[in-house]
């Protein structure tokens, strides 16, 4: 049962092969069995899940089920859940129970989905290995010596080990696509504004976007159907009709123009990974696609621009964690300043502090123009590169990550090398474009991800392009031996 996709499970529920309660119990059992080792969940909401499952079974019995009714999934612990702890991977929020649901959470509730629990993540989504979590690192099910990627590492590991058929994530600089690549999953980051950010704890507001981890592109489409849409509570969500994202999945790819940016195949890319990605592109040629060499000339500026803009926004976004109204408060503060300094000093981990300091510096008087403003100008140039490219091609492809999953501890003391894990994904966030990572093979027995970048609000095409590939390959349906 656990190796089925959402689409298959929905069929099973509909036909009465099993109930949502049985399905939910089977996943809860798997979590119980495997997650002590993996550490992919921060909170397992067993009672809540079973209540939702029983409610879903009633809806199914009445014949009113939607596709996701009764389908279990895991929620990244960055989405606020009414009555269930939301930590964002931080000591700062170890005691925080939100009195409201994030819009994404609300949408899944409305769809009748079953939330199994809240997944582990880098603290405040800042990291590329899940090692900055207050709740400890997460193991990659393909090799437990390695990291699952980050920041949505728990969401990726949980689906890779089939502790959940699907999960949500957020992607600020690659936090869905990179762990999806490292864990052999289909990861989708929609266009900025497609999915509401309300109730999703902000890291960098102009870059954050919610998305999904699934086994297949078809499942991504089913999830996106539920998550997307204008939300009056989020002024940056976009008033654009939500199509049925499954509608175009079966279109053939004849004449599809795929752009390969030369900058994504540079010396920083692991040769083995490059080979796997090139094979995937060859497969697309067989499917009738046309390959176009393109250039995104400002790509090399994306990491530096990102590491000014994201920290600048985070330095402000994280000011509300001050020990005054909620979250961690230091013991016996002697005055206000002591309360601030110790609550924040003790409540935040090193990576979060590092980014707050970088951001504070970048915004400070006398440096604003040289850093923040300059970075914003670069951001525009990077967007312009994409706009120009999409005049020539339908999608852009390349590697998701320069290498496969690395060993835990390998980069945790070298922030710059860690930041470079996201070198191919960051530009997409700066431009606000949708992107996917699709499993496309293995290197050293570890999964490799193919990144597909689409034009604004062109998720339907992205999903179609990924789905067609998944019809002729089976990389996406493989799972780690130890968790079968």
């Amino acid at each position: 049962m656990h190796n089925k996709t959402i689409a298959e499970l929905a069929q099973g529920l509909k036909k009465g092969d099993f109930s949502s309660e049985e399905l939910t119990k089977s996943y809860l059992e798997r979590i119980n069995q495997y997650d002590t080792e993996l550490n992919s969940f921060i909170t397992v909401s067993e009672d809540h899940a079973l209540t939702q499952a029983r409610a879903a079974d009633e809806i199914i019995a009445k014949g009113n089920a939607g596709t996701l009714t009764g389908i279990p999934f895991a929620q990244k612990d960055i989405f606020c859940t009414n009555g269930i702890k939301t930590t964002c991977g931080s000591k700062m929020l170890d005691n925080f129970i939100a009195p409201y649901d994030a819009t994404v959470v609300h949408n899944f509730n409305q769809a009748g989905s079953v939330m199994l629990g809240k997944t582990n993540m880098d603290e405040f989504a800042m990291g590329s290995s899940n090692e900055t979590s207050f709740y400890g690192g997460v193991k990659n099910p393909w090799n437990t010596q390695t990291v699952p990627g980050g920041s949505s590492g728990g969401s990726a590991a949980a689906v890779a080990a089939r502790l959940a058929p699907a999960s949500t994530g957020t992607d600020t600089g690659g936090s869905i696509r990179q762990p999806a690549a490292l864990c052999g999953l289909t990861g989708l980051k929609p266009t900025y504004g497609r999915v509401s950010r309300y109730g999703m704890i902000a890291f960098a507001s102009s870059l954050d976007q919610a998305g999904t981890f699934t086994q297949t592109a078809e499942d991504s489409a089913l999830m996106l159907n539920v998550m997307s849409g204008l939300d009056e509570k989020d002024s940056t969500s976009v008033d654009k009709e939500v199509p049925d994202y499954t509608a175009n999945l079966n279109q053939d790819l004849k004449g599809l123009k795929i752009g390969l940016p030369k900058e994504y195949f540079d010396e920083g890319l692991n040769a083995d990974v490059a080979k796997v990605v090139e094979e995937a592109i060859a497969e697309y040629k067989k499917l009738g696609a046309e390959i176009v060499d393109i250039s995104l000339p400002n790509s090399h500026l994306s990491v530096p621009a990102y590491y000014v803009i994201a920290p600048a926004e985070c330095s402000s976004n994280l000011s509300r964690f001050d020990g005054v109204r909620f979250g961690y408060r230091c013991d016996e503060p002697k005055d206000l300043e002591d309360l601030y300094k110790r609550s924040r000093g003790e409540g935040f981990g090193d990576e979060v502090k590092r980014r707050i300091m970088i951001g504070t510096y970048a915004l400070s008087a006398g440096y604003y123009d040289a850093y923040y403003l300059k970075a914003q100008k670069i951001r525009r140039l990077i967007s312009d590169d994409f706009v120009a490219a999409f005049e020539k091609v339908d999608v852009i492809m390349g590697p998701t990550s320069p290498e496969v999953a690395f060993k835990a501890g390998e980069k945790s003391n070298d922030p710059v090398s860690m930041y470079l894990s996201d070198i191919y994904t960051i530009a997409t966030n700066l431009a606000g474009l949708p992107g996917m990572s699709v499993p496309c093979g293995f290197s050293n027995n570890m999964p490799v991800g193919l990144q597909i970048i689409g034009n604004y609000f062109d998720e339907s095409r992205l999903l179609n392009v990924a789905h067609q590939y998944q019809q002729t390959t089976d990389w996406h349906s493989q799972m780690p031996e130890a968790f079968k």
């Binding site: 009056e232 509570k233 002024s235 000011s319 109204r325 206000l336 923040y372």
Partner: protein, 477 residues
Amino acid sequence: MEWETVIGLEIHTQLATKSKIFSGAATAYGAEPNTQACAVDLGLPGVLPVLNKEVISMGVKFGLALDAEIGMTSAFDRKNYFYPDSPKGYQTTQMDFPIVGKGSLTIDLEDGTKKVIGVTRAHLEEDAGKSLHEDFHGMTGIDLNRAGTPLLEIVSEPDMCSAKEAVAYMRKMHSLVRYIGISDGNMQEGSFRCDANVSVRPKGQKEFGTRTELKNINSFRFVERAINIEIERQIDLIEAGGKVVQETRLYDSDKNETRSMRSKEEANDYRYFPCPDLLPIKISEKFVEQVRATLPELPDAKKQRFVDSFGLKEDDAATITSNRDMAEYFETVMEKCGDAKLATNWVIGELSGYLNKEDMDITASPVTAEMLALLLTRIKDNTISGKIAKQVFEAMWKGEGKDADAVIESKGLKQITDTGAIEAIVDEIIAANPEQVEQFKAGKEKVLGFFVGQCMKASKGKANPGQLNQLIRDKLK
């Protein structure tokens, strides 16, 4: 040495919206602490601001009233600083693209001349909560009811050169925001408060002196006092060989002194940057015209019209039009009774007296404009005298009788115009006072007043004074 003063004001006026600038929580004053603060106002994790569009209309309305530039594209920025009553650790405000750009306000000076004060800009922002230092045993309580209340910050040019000018500007601005209905202007509740930037320089010098900023003054009287005491302090300091330090100072109204809050060195680096949660606001010409159509007649125009078409004196017109409700009250009285002089005297005199005594707003007056108009009509048509009218007014104020006619009727105050009845009274008084009759006949004109008084008394004030006068004169001849 002779000194001159340079003053600029930053006025914070709360906008009279029902809900907050970025959340749906109510803005009403005086609720139990933290009962009007929702998740957005509390700055809980994950929440996002949604702009209350009404503040845009109000901002534009203000800009149009000042004939200022309107920010067709305006945007919100974050001003970052830590303080317990600032729940997000930043204030959402407008830095680079305010809703209102350059404009001006003309004030009337005491010598009868006018002065144009430049307005640099006006921008929208959110108010902070309140820190409560009493009743918490050495701790501080935080009330976030006020957090997120919309504010319009109106920044003037440094165009004022005395405390009196500053007060005149502040009063005029106060009148204006109430006129156009964007603020209740309630200063006790903090709906209208100001920071004053004050500096002095030797007379004739071009460069500005070093300024200090006096924070959060919430009455006209305190603004005048605070500025004057600060001017004095700066001059004393410089003349004693010292230097003014750029700093923020607090006015202590109990001690009537200003004292330092923080120096420039201690000042926060606010690290302004565009708020990524809010999109820039683009407004159309059409929207501006729609707002313009809602603008009432402004105080200066109204005043001029009252002078031109009703023949009011300048200062009376200024008094009446300084408050829109009073102006409207006056105009109703005026239209219905048709006598500008009578209407002016009663509105500024009797009515204002009663209102002031009871510290009541004109809109709450138990004597409505219609009631006063009828009363004045009864003076004009000789039903009652001015003196009796005051009795009738008092009765109406106390709620006795639905209008002047009812009071006159029930109290029997109708003026006696029947010549026969008056004649009888006059005859009686003349007969009873032969001595005074002799005096009058001997040429002592003053005695006439005695007879009028006696007759009036005998008629209980109901005799028509003109008629009475004539009759006595005729009889005594």
